[in-house]
Amino acid sequence: MKDELARIVTGLDADYADIRFEENRKTRVAYRGEELEEVASYATSGGHARAYAGGGKAIASFSDPAQAARIAKSVAASARIVGAKRDKPLRLAEAPPIRESFPLKPLKDPRTIPLREKLDLAAHYNEMILREPSVLTTETHYDEFLSNRVFVNTEGSVIIYDLLVVNIVGTIVTKAKGVVQRVRFAFGGDADYTRVLDRDEELKERIEFARQLPHAEPAKAGLYPVILDPSEAGLFIHEAFGHLSEADGLQNNPAFRERLQLGTPLAKPLLNVTDDPALPGLPGTYEIDDEGVRGAKTRLITEGILTGRMHSRETAAEFGEPLSGNMRAVDAHFTPLVRMSNIFIESGESSFDKMVASIEDGYYLVGAKGGQTSGDQFTFGAQWGYRIENGRLGPMVRDINMSGELFSTLEAISMIGNELAFAERGGCGKGGPQQLNRKSGKGAPHIKIDRVTIGGV
């Protein structure tokens, strides 16, 4: 396969071209309540071709490898059409050709575990939840995604690499006094099967939170100082800031490009934010991206100053900034986009107790529950929260979300906790058509923000 693909790209009338071909294996088990809704284990495949020619770019996804040569040729021709319409040619930053394989070596390889065992494990966690009387229903999923990828380009790169993610994730739905609430859990996120084993204690904690939550009062809307737990703080830095550090979104947005020049102060000196695909065992860990560039650590914010951003070869050339190896595609149906790997807020010095003690009237938000951003505006939910009154944690609250504007919120980060923790489930939507990337990690310690809009009733 790789030799045939390499022959196809080198014969193209293009300044640059690449083809990625994937053989993907997925295993899914889905429980809803007591019902086993889905057991599936299967293989699919497909390819994606890109070309730059005459200053323009074109792309194509295809299912049938026998069509690869025809499609690659058509892509090169389309790239010229784009180039002819542009007053400003697209260019690529120099990148060394790579001829190498990147096999995975997980501690315990899920590929060696029988389907029955995976199903029993999901059933075990699901049954633990169903034993709690206030549980209305559950969603418990085992998800495994293995991708064997071949990448070739016109510069001589021939790269063979694997991606593998294993997760057990779910939702605990509880009801009391007519109030229905949802608490999530996620184990795994890495290639290593041991990460989904022996998680009963953590699950018990989540079930207990889910039991309590319908009894909590809804949060009261208003402006408050807040503490975000590592899950919510990781979501905040990923969604609100991280996406604006992906250079493809910024490339053609003059207003934000101007606002986000390297060297711009964005926060107090206590804030450091990094994107690092080399951190072991996290959802966004990888060695090589889908453009044949090695993944590299990028210091995005250093002591409050914007010091880096994530790039493709095209955006690195456009911005005159170093390559970072962040160009990734979910699967062969999609073109690579600039994506965060593992983005995180680095540890600070404050203890959680000290952060709580510093707040007279505020909230503590726990557990990321999805969020949305548009430019510098963001809204995030939390699975639950607590009142903070006179420096003490008060009662649990439900139906709480926060919203605001990125730049003023970054400036309002006033304390950073001393215990960094990473989420075990990645899930980042980007692009049109939307690509939901599971290989996306995020982390943070607890953080305190002096002023955030809390939504509620």
């Binding site: 599936a40 293989a43 497909g46 049938d64 007053d87 229905v180 053609n252």
Partner: protein, 436 residues
């Protein structure tokens, strides 16, 4: 259609083959420049079987991929007993969703369509960082079951979206038009874009408290998705919905009649059968505010002792495609228009909001009918639009707040945000509004 079903008949109790083929071309403009041309040629297959009374599924690129039935059998060996059977033979309506003229278009025509729209905008606003996408899709879906269902249909669609980010804000103003057949430059939509963009240039902060809110067609998902979550079969089966056992009750304002209209001929998204091969049907979900029925696929219908309503769709809130299992979804929602013009809805408001998007929808407790979002839209005062909203939160419970609707407009507009919908502007008597 394919001998896989013939083979399956010999080897398993039941089988269902779903085969989707799509050819798409799209052109994208960023900051006013053509950025890329994309072309996809994709095929995907889902096979579900019942073997030894148990259900299993598998997926592939084509039905010719070797070992499909064996893979599905291996999955079924671990499955639970099947609770439903695959679709029997049925008559399918004709929906006429394919125009060969669309199928024949090339990237050149898409470039021309996008450029004509961008030129028209530039001649009036040369200062904007314009985005545009023009896309076409030719799709063929075939379904066959061992129980006798057998059908295929072709659809074509062409769409154009364009807009620009608002200077100094994270939001933008974007407009979208799609159709089965090729269309000319949508001048009315361009006029509306120019007017709306003009409204964004000043920030205006509304009073805090309860205010009337107009939902533009683009924002219909904010109240339709909570409604979907309340009427979809799984939420009824698992009793997580607030609408369990409430058919025949008044749950929304009598001004709202909400119809699922999958078979309207020549309309975008129309289809003769659902993703399980069950015929689609036009059906009122809400009639004058009264709950008329639930959305069921074969699984949930069987669990509830009813029959499928033909609403099985391979999608979830964030994800869709061949590898997604069928779930109950509306296919083409329409809301009956009213008699008031949308201009008059605005003119008559002392103070209120007109919103066209809400951020953070899925963070809220929408399965219970609630949403709390950052409202994207405009502030209305003394009957005039006085500026755009900034850091304004709007929260609602549709089963309380959407019982009091003052008016729905005569004009209707389309949206593809989460749901395929065609809706009027809906003026809700009052919602909770909070600012920063």
């Amino acid at each position: 259609m394919h001998n896989l079903i013939e083979t399956a008949k010999q080897q398993v109790d039941q089988a269902e083959l779903y085969w989707n083929r799509a050819h798409t071309i799209s052109v994208r403009y960023e900051n006013g420049r053509l950025q890329q041309i994309a072309e996809n040629d994709l095929s995907s297959v889902a096979l579900r079987i019942i073997d030894g009374g148990k259900m299993g599924s598998t997926f592939a690129v084509s039905p010719d991929q070797p070992g499909l039935i064996e893979q599905a059998k291996a999955a079924a060996a671990h499955g639970d007993p099947a609770t439903f059977s695959f679709a029997p033979a049925a008559e399918y309506p004709s929906v006429d969703g394919y125009d060969p003229a669309t199928g024949r278009l090339t990237s050149d025509e898409l470039v021309a369509l996008a450029e004509s729209a961008l030129e028209a905008i530039r001649s009036r606003r040369s200062d904007l960082s314009l985005l545009a996408d023009a896309e076409l899709e030719h799709r063929e879906l075939a379904i066959e079951t061992t129980e006798g269902a057998k059908g295929s249909f072709e659809t074509s669609d062409i769409s154009l979206s364009f807009g620009a980010p608002i200077k100094g804000a994270g939001m933008g103003v974007y407009k979208w038009r799609g159709a089965v057949s090729p269309f000319a430059r949508p001048d009315e939509l361009i006029d509306e874009f120019i007017e709306w963009y003009g409204w964004t240039e000043k920030i205006s902060t509304p009073s805090t408290g309860r205010l009337p809110v107009i939902f533009a067609p683009d924002a219909a998902f904010l109240y339709l998705l909570p409604l979907w979550a309340g009427i979809e079969g799984s939420a009824i089966e698992k009793k997580t919905s607030p609408l369990v056992d409430r058919i025949g009750e008044q749950i929304l304002s009598e001004r709202l009649t909400i119809i699922d209209d999958p078979t309207a001929p020549g309309e975008l998204g129309a289809r003769p059968f659902d993703d399980e091969g069950v015929p689609c049907q036009r059906r009122a979900l809400i009639e004058n505010g009264i709950l008329n029925g639930y959305l069921l696929d074969r699984r949930t219908a069987s669990a509830l002792g009813q029959t499928s309503t033909g609403n099985a769709v391979k999608r979830e809130l964030f994800g869709s495609g061949t590898e997604t299992k069928p779930n109950p979804w509306p296919i083409r929602i329409t809301i009956d228009p009213g008699e008031t013009s949308y201009r008059k809805l605005i003119d008559d408001l002392d103070e209120g909001l007109l919103i066209y998007y809400g951020m953070g929808f899925h963070s809220g407790n929408y399965p219970q009918g609630q949403f709390a979002v950052q409202a994207i839209g405009f502030h209305i005062k003394g009957g005039d639009v006085v500026g755009r909203l900034d850091k304004t939160m709007v929260s609602a419970n549709i089963y309380e707040d959407f019982r009091r609707i003052r008016a729905v407009s005569a004009e209707r507009g389309p949206s593809l945000a989460f749901l395929n919908s065609t809706t009027p502007y809906v003026l809700v008597d009052s919602l909770q509004v909070a600012g920063a």
